[in-house]
């Protein structure tokens, strides 16, 4: 299944002269960098939150991201959009932060995988989802359910799903970012998707909980 191309951070922002802004920063204009922080910081923080969940960690990662961007601004030559470049930096900063954080106890992925009987058939019947895709994406409660469900996934599975399905990285890129083999990425992604389906199923079927 193909992933969508990662959307730029400035999709809804008025047109910005990125080249001029970058040139100002490269020549030491502090006000220009402050402008970048204000223009792109909101969406970058949202990306950091997706990976880190804990607000202070997300803000720390955002600071690290801007520091990294400031230090490497001379290497930015306009090959990609500024927003895309900053997006990559904040994803990397979030992943770095994850590596240094203490892992908290979390649910085992096995609890969220589909169950089967000894004869190989499903333990629970599969029902069609009453809520359609178009309805779901417009429903605030369902949107919150999807975000909450992704957040509930055990961390190492959640990160793979975020990198592959949400951020649009390839298997190889994800493997490199996470220090895994491509095979491990594929296995974790599949299990993360199975678990996500399990978490969405009751509400999408229209079952009262």
């Amino acid at each position: 299944m193909e992933s969508p191309e990662t959307q730029p951070l400035d999709q809804n922002e008025p047109k910005i002269d990125e080249a001029a802004l970058v040139a100002s920063i490269q020549s030491g204009d502090e006000a220009a960098f402050a402008q970048v922080v204000r223009l792109y910081g909101g969406r970058m923080l949202a990306v950091a939150r997706r990976f880190l969940q804990h607000e202070q960690d997300a803000q720390d990662a955002l600071q690290d991201a801007f520091l990294s961007a400031f230090r490497s601004i001379d290497k930015f030559h306009g090959d990609a959009k500024l927003s895309t470049w900053l997006h990559r930096i904040v994803v990397n900063a979030a992943l770095m932060k994850l590596r240094t954080r203490k892992r908290k106890p979390e649910r085992a992925i096995e609890d969220l995988l589909p169950k089967f009987r000894k004869d190989g058939h499903r333990a629970d019947p599969t029902s069609a989802w009453a809520i359609t895709f178009d309805t779901a994406v417009r429903d605030r409660e369902i949107r919150e359910l999807v975000r909450r469900s992704i957040n509930e996934l055990p961390e190492s599975y959640r990160i793979v799903l975020l990198l592959r399905d949400i951020e649009g990285h390839s298997t190889e890129e994800t493997a490199e970012l996470m220090g895994l083999t491509a095979g491990a990425v594929k296995t974790r992604l599949h299990r993360a998707r199975l678990a996500l389906r399990t978490l969405l199923d009751p509400q999408m079927r229209g079952v009262e909980e």
């Binding site: 299944m1 922080v37 909101g42 058939h121 599969t126 389906r197």
Partner: protein, 83 residues
């Protein structure tokens, strides 16, 4: 093929990476197991929902337009300390 094997091979099936002989067996199972057909449909739907709702630029509920000014100041102060 049993249902649990169908789920095991699902990722490769969707990636078009199943060997031809396995693909035939997989397809035969799908032809007679409406439960697996529905499961695969909802599995794909879950992925699409995650992408649509959490993909950058789409998640309007969760996207802050601006970051708190205190955070902006903290970031700029960090940059100044590291100049």
């Amino acid at each position: 093929m049993k249902c649990h094997e169908c789920v095991e091979f699902l990722a490769d099936y969707l990636d078009g990476a199943l060997p031809a002989d396995q693909m035939g067996v997989f397809q035969q199972h799908m032809d007679r197991c409406p439960q697996c057909v529905e499961y695969i449909r909802t599995y794909e739907e879950s992925i699409r929902l995650g992408q649509a709702i959490c993909g950058c630029g789409e998640d309007e509920d969760a996207l802050p337009k601006d970051i708190p000014e205190k955070l902006v100041e903290a970031i700029l102060a960090t940059l100044k300390r590291n100049e």
